[in-house]
Amino acid sequence: MKLPVADAAALRAHTGRLLRRHRRGLGRVLGLHVSAAVAGLAGPWLLGLMVDAVRRGADGSFVDQAVLFLVVAVVLQAGLVRAAQRASMVLGETVFAELREEFVATVTRLPLSVVERAGTGDLVSRTTTDIDRVQHTVRFGVPRVLVTSATITLTVVAAFVVDWRVAVALLVGTPLLVPTVRWYLRRAAAGYLRESASYARLNGTITESVEGARTVDALGLGARRRARTDADLRVAYSAEQYTLRLRTVLFPGVDLSFVLPIVGVLVWGAWLIASGHTTVGSVTTIALYAVQLMQPIGELIFWLDEVQVGSTALARIVGVADVAPDRRAGDAEPSDEHVVAEKVRYAYREGHDVLHGIDLDLAVGERLAVVGPSGAGKSTLGRMLAGIHPPTGGRVSVGGVPLVDLPLEDLRGHVALVTQEHHVFVGTIEQNLRLARTDAAPEDLRRALEAVDAWEWVAALPDGLATEVGSGGVALTPAQAQQVALARLVLLDPHTLVLDEATSLLDPRAARHLERSLSAVLAGRTVVAIAHRLHTAHDADRVAVVDGGRITEIGSHDELVAAGGDYAALWHSWQRD
């Protein structure tokens, strides 16, 4: 399942809302940039006046005054540039901070079923790569686009004010400039995205080579890894060649459309001077404006493709908000802790049922083991019992209320799911545990860790509970991470727990020990344990055998063994010796 990406209209609407929210700041920034650009126009204008003065044979005081005026204009411009840049950067930081905080808030509120099915890869790349791209655009691109647009517009306006008849010649490059730039921009964003994707691939290959260095050594994979690195570089090279080719069209087109107006102004101006319609000074001024336009137009084009790349990233960020909620909480209160599944069906794809009408009545406080071959639907059943996905047919309820009608906060108090997937959050062990209960007392933390056989190694860490773990901190083994996850569950203390291979990463002896100490702590809780080890089934009150999306056998271990079905056969084959 793919997460949505905002379409053009949604993106425009979102950007519009964002801009409107910062209307005042934006107005201020624009005002400052416009003023700075106006002050920057003084130079060529004064020079034109001086050219006329020199040709008139005016005296030195005119020059002194003009230069003084120029100095004032320069100082003013510098001050305005500083204020404008500062204001726009601060605004950029504010808007961007808002954007990313909203994004993360949205992501952490994504419906449970979406998170389970979409996986985290796509979200991680949106949180890292896309946010970084937008950041670059917002932080550097948007201010520069504002500055250059203001400068270009005002320079052209000033030229028209000086002498509109001469200034029309400025537009002579436009018929070349506009199609060239359009041609380029239509292709650029895709080209640059391909480029960055090719580098991401290269980095992925290097990461694999380094992380798997031992495997590379053991199996003699060196030559293959090198070939792959080279292949990635070849792809990156061809991506670079493509954008380079785009630029070999863009650059000459742009360069020429800068030179044409200069020549146009001079030739047209000379004719106008000869016919007495303008002065040498005015033509000089406008010719210098033409020269002065080169830099901002070049920079604007450069940023336009960055902005394009930024907006594709923004579409992915904004798109996350379009995920529809998977449930609507009602206000019914469960009457007790009794969890029942009735005729539960589930299909990940329409028409392909994974569960075919499962009925399961969990006695309060019982321990049920779910066994069966992989792919039988055990994990899907577990997710239904924990209220992760709304079933496609039938219902799972607690105390008479369907699980998916409960507000999420309440649901967690009733049923919780722990899978073999483990993740240690950046922070201390204590912070990792407190997620489940922020107000837990230190003794509670210790008790929870003891219940999962983890207290010993936690206490042995350099800073005990306060040890920094996760990316950048002390690395925990998968087994330790699994213990931390279980300790969180102990703290959360729901009345029903679903453990989906929750101890599979521990070695068999440790797993069994952990399960025993855990069950002491969980006495009185209803536990559904999906397991691939038979001892879990042996220790449970009841065993459910799931095969092909159905419960084929259910009963106590002894009953099933006595019944002589599949479970009995399996058990006997193991017990034969």
Binding site: I206, P252, T438, L534, L570, W571, D577
Partner: protein
């Protein structure tokens, strides 16, 4: 302009495509030596781009000169010949500029790519020869960063070189021209501009520091973000979203504040970049206008001076940028050198003469643990401490830095592994660890890396035969279900690190890969730790069949596996204590003490598995015809 496009393309084609077949051997002595070595490998390209940059810069500098000339001679004579000549010259300069810019850019980019790609290739190749020594020396992230960012910094040096040289030449030319018209102006340019540059550099330093602070804060924010998202399933399952959003917001605000501090300095620099050249320009205009009034220069020359003063900021920026880029690159190269200095294992060095047949068909013996693996048997290593047996197993294949000194203590057919040479050891003894890594690539190729290299027996096989071989190995590892999980099966792509597969699937795929090496000696460490009991029983039976008659070592304490092997060696305190069959050891054939010890290890595991051994395998014995699909396998499991 139409003609400039194919021109640019032809230039592209003439340059050798990347990457190189062999990136070469750089000096590892110092960062400057490395950069110089890279530069020499693209000397012609650098020379060409520098010449073009000079041409571009000079024609850019010619624009003000030509403009001034037109103002003087052509503007008030109507559409005179002088005007038209002047305009044609401007157009000509414009064409040279456009052409120089585009071809120059192509060459600059190639210089950049050459420098960056050669470096990436050097790192990418080197890490495949170091074994795990590279991860012991540096964290993975830092090694990847040398390719992701430091290599690009190296490229940048060669990207800016030409522009720096072009700017320098243009600067000198303009200074000379000005000096010719007015000593005051000439000196002002020669002294004034470097002063301005120096003043700006004063602001650049604190700016860089603040930018670095912001980058660091932003890096932490990214880590926090991706951490939150990676653990999202857990967060949504047990709560704590608010804690995380708050934590993210806090760091996000920290980044914002750092950004505001950057804005303060950055905008100051922007202001100064307007102010100082602006004042310099005003000074030039003032002196020029005075000279013009005195009749020493013409009005057109005044325009030229103005143009020069405005133009000169370009070489200035190029120079400051070049210094900045070079500094960054030197820092980057130092990190790159740290990676390149990690010693290679030597597994890819040529084998010593006559090694290939030495010790063929002999027993494998580890003198440290006194473990003996008889030729042609499947032998299991068992210990109360699984790490201990794993250590013996990796020593048998000299895998990992920790066994660097053990080469003389392990013998194959009486020949010390040290005498065989690591290359020969790797070819003949393959160790597959319990958590081996899978790599991105076509499933077909990832399964059988040696076949793809043409190594195992040098024969080119028919496609059907290749396919059958792969399917056999997958079947032996009970991994046929992987074909359903990877879109397009054998021709599908395994995602990065096999992420799209479950832990059990990854392990079974890695087992199939190990079997396909068809190594003379295969060492498997806990090959079934992540699979369920049904599957383990099937794998144990098929493994014994597939490897029958070929030396195989399996580290496992599972009775399902132990009952299937030819011989079991019990290891305790790092030393082999007893050997025999699983049943024999249990029954006391190696003495009552050994039996007690063995039972203590195995029966604890057995109690955990709810089993004491032999029989699970019996189920597979009765199997007539091997199950070919997952469904069949399941049905078969259910039948049992």
């Amino acid at each position: 302009m139409a003609s400039t496009v194919p021109e640019g393309r032809r230039t592209v084609l003439r340059v050798r495509p990347l990457p190189e077949t062999d990136p070469g051997t750089p000096p590892l002595t110092s960062a400057p030596a490395y950069l110089w070595w890279v530069a020499r490998r693209q000397g012609w390209l650098l020379l060409g781009s520098s010449l073009l940059a000079v041409a571009s810069a000079v024609s850019l500098a010619a624009l003000p000169f030509l403009l001034g000339r037109v103002v003087d001679t052509g503007l008030d004579g109507g559409l005179s010949r002088d005007l038209l000549v002047g305009c044609l010259l401007i157009l000509g300069a414009g064409l040279v500029l456009a052409l120089g810019n585009v071809v120059g850019h192509v060459l600059d980019v190639h210089n950049w790519l050459r420098g960056a790609f050669r470096t990436s290739q050097l790192v990418g190749h080197h890490v495949t020869r170091t074994g795990d020594a590279v991860t012991a020396e540096l964290p993975t992230g830092e090694v990847v960063a040398t390719v992701a960012s430091d290599a690009l910094r190296v490229g940048e040096v060669f990207y800016v070189t030409a522009r720096f040289i072009g700017g320098l030449v243009a600067y000198l030319v303009v200074a000379a021209l000005l000096l010719d018209s007015s000593v005051v102006l000439g000196v002002a340019v020669l002294v004034g501009l470097p002063t301005v540059a120096g003043a700006l550099a004063l602001v650049v330093r604190p700016l860089q520091r603040r930018q670095a602070e912001q980058r660091e804060a932003a890096g932490r924010l990214t880590t926090l973000g991706s951490d939150t998202v990676s653990g999202l399933r857990i967060l949504r399952g047990i709560g704590g979203e608010d804690v995380f959003t708050a934590r993210y917001r806090e760091q996000s605000q920290r980044v914002r504040h750092a950004g505001v501090r950057v804005a303060g300095t950055q905008s100051l620099l922007d202001g100064l970049q307007t102010l100082l050249p602006g004042l310099f320009l005003a000074g030039v205009v003032w002196v020029g206008a005075r000279l013009a009034l005195d009749g020493e220069i013409t009005a057109g020359q005044l325009v030229t001076f103005y143009g020069y003063a405005a133009f000169l900021t370009e070489p200035l920026t190029a120079a400051t940028q070049a210094v900045h880029v070079l500094t960054r690159a030197l820092v980057g190269v130092r990190k790159i050198l740290r990676v390149l200095r990690v010693p290679v294992t030597g597994a890819e060095l040529p084998r010593p003469d006559g090694a290939s047949s030495a010790g063929l068909g002999g027993d494998l013996v580890d003198a440290v643990s006194q473990v003996l693996v008889r030729h042609g048997t499947v032998t299991a290593l068992v210990s109360a401490d699984p790490d201990e047996t794993a250590r013996v197993a990796t020593r048998l294949g000299l895998l990992g830095r920790e066994h660097a000194d053990d080469a003389a203590r392990v013998t194959l057919g009486g020949v010390a592994l040290a005498d065989l040479g690591l290359a020969e050891v790797r070819r003949r003894v393959v160790v597959a660890e319990s958590t081996p890594q899978l790599f991105t690539g076509l499933l077909r190729e990832e399964l059988d890396p040696r076949a793809a290299d043409g190594v195992p027996d040098g024969l080119v096989r028919a496609r059907e035969e290749v396919e059958a071989r792969l399917l056999d190995a997958l079947l032996a590892a009970d991994g046929q279900d992987v074909l359903d999980s990877v879109p397009d099966g054998l021709d599908g792509e395994v995602a990065e690190k096999g992420r799209s597969l479950s832990g059990g699937q990854r392990q079974r795929l890695a087992l199939a890969r190990a079997l396909l090496t068809e190594a003379e000696v295969l060492v498997l460490v806990e090959p079934t730790s992540a699979v369920d009991a049904h599957t383990e029983a099937r794998i144990a039976a098929r493994l014994a069949q597939v490897r029958a008659g070929r030396t195989t070592v399996v580290v496992s304490a599972s009775p399902l596996v132990l009952d299937r092997v030819d011989e079991v060696v019990l290891v305790a305190d790092g030393v082999a204590r007893a050997r025999g069959t699983h049943r024999g050891l249990l029954d006391g054939a190696a003495g009552p003490e050994a039996a007690a010890r063995y039972r203590a290890v195995v029966s604890r595991a057995a109690a955990d598995e709810g089993t004491a051994g032999t029989a699970a395998a019996t189920g597979t014995d009765t199997t007539t015809g091997t199950p070919t699909t997952r469904e069949e396998a399941h049905r078969e499991a259910a039948r049992r």
